[in-house]
Symmetry: C2
Subunit: 231 residues, 2 copies
Amino acid sequence: MSGALKDAAIRVERPAKTLRELALDKVREAIVNGYFRPGVRLVERDLCAQLGVSRTVVREVLRHLESEGLVANLPNKGPIVAQLDIDEARQIYEIRGALEGMAARLCAERGSPEIVTALEESLTAIRNSYHDNDMAGVLANTSSFYQTLFNMVDRHVAWGVVNLLTVRINHLRSMTIKTERRSIEGPLQMSKIIDAIRRGDGEGAQRAAMDHVAAACAIAEAVLSTQKPAE
Amino acid sequence: MSGALKDAAIRVERPAKTLRELALDKVREAIVNGYFRPGVRLVERDLCAQLGVSRTVVREVLRHLESEGLVANLPNKGPIVAQLDIDEARQIYEIRGALEGMAARLCAERGSPEIVTALEESLTAIRNSYHDNDMAGVLANTSSFYQTLFNMVDRHVAWGVVNLLTVRINHLRSMTIKTERRSIEGPLQMSKIIDAIRRGDGEGAQRAAMDHVAAACAIAEAVLSTQKPAE
DNA sequence: TTACAGTATTTGGTAGGCCATAATACGATT
DNA sequence: AATCGTATTATGGCCTACCAAATACTGTAA
């Protein structure tokens, strides 16, 4: 009896992170925050040395990142950090628009006040981060805004897809949020999403969400087009 | 001169598929067509023997399938073939609806007659496969119908996402198309998509595409709910 | 200066081994 | 008989070392 009773409650949490997962996170981090620039070669043995792990682990990590779209594999030449071309970025924004729009509509149609509360919390966190000039915080809190949007209606698969795609445009995101326009427009558009959800206006919530990513995409394009010639 | 002249033209087409990719395809195939049932353990060393490759390759393949969602990894127990629960299937259908609806709308808005022609070709191929009772053909041609939908408007990223999700519900798909209802309804709904595209009716095309996957989802749920008790 | 041969680099792939953990079986003890 | 502890086995995680083939580099000879 003593063993069977609510043992789930006292279950010991153990880290259980394998070396592989740790290495995966490290390398993914290194790519998304620009430590490894796009196009750079990822030489297996160099990574082994830098990460302090064996080739086995490195290879599995590279395969994983490959299927995430963060690294590309040139045949007989090896893996490089994937280049992001503007068309692909546009497509990713478009997909995010479709899925986030869907999630927003579902939130509105559910009409539960907890959703509004949770989203408002995220939004104030974003505003605070903007106020503190904490750009990493803006990024993280924006993610969590959308995560609640999906989680509140139990759409974890869609959230997974969005998340997967988002890492590929991460450096674009970090550039768009730095724009002055974005720091005002962004939170405003997000509050419009919340308003529509509060009213139970599914159509409006969807449109507002799509507008929001469309605006992000437009800024990203502008930033990208001014940068390309310089490179 | 003899070596440099138009060597591109006579370039020997070599398979270039790495062993890893071959193994990946084999195992994925084995999972989607049910040779490895859901929940079954995938013991690395056994797979090595069955595939005739080394553990390195097998492990990389397993990682890849894991990130595709076809394999789940129980901590301290190893990989198993992922179980598909009904809620997840529903979510996948929903996402397909959103993305295929988007693609259909874009096709309609582009208004080029080649799209209509290509889609009609796919549709007649589907009808023929149904007529011949060739279910594998139905599946393949249905895929290619949607592939053209995405390709015609250059949305290869979205197509990749749909494709990725679709393998996870593949056995559901093969069950839904066997339904009598589906063999009539399916092509009919697809022709509605084409009609809307021909009219340039984006809204209608989107709705028709979403209806189509919604119907597929409904049948899948029906099939799944009659099966679960038996298991 | 060019062509070519040799060399280094690097991936793809293999073989085998070590260790930790989980489950199972088995034996001993109360 | 029930329980407890211990060996055994199966397996994943991880490592080292090795080889073959393709590519990139480099120095030398014509």
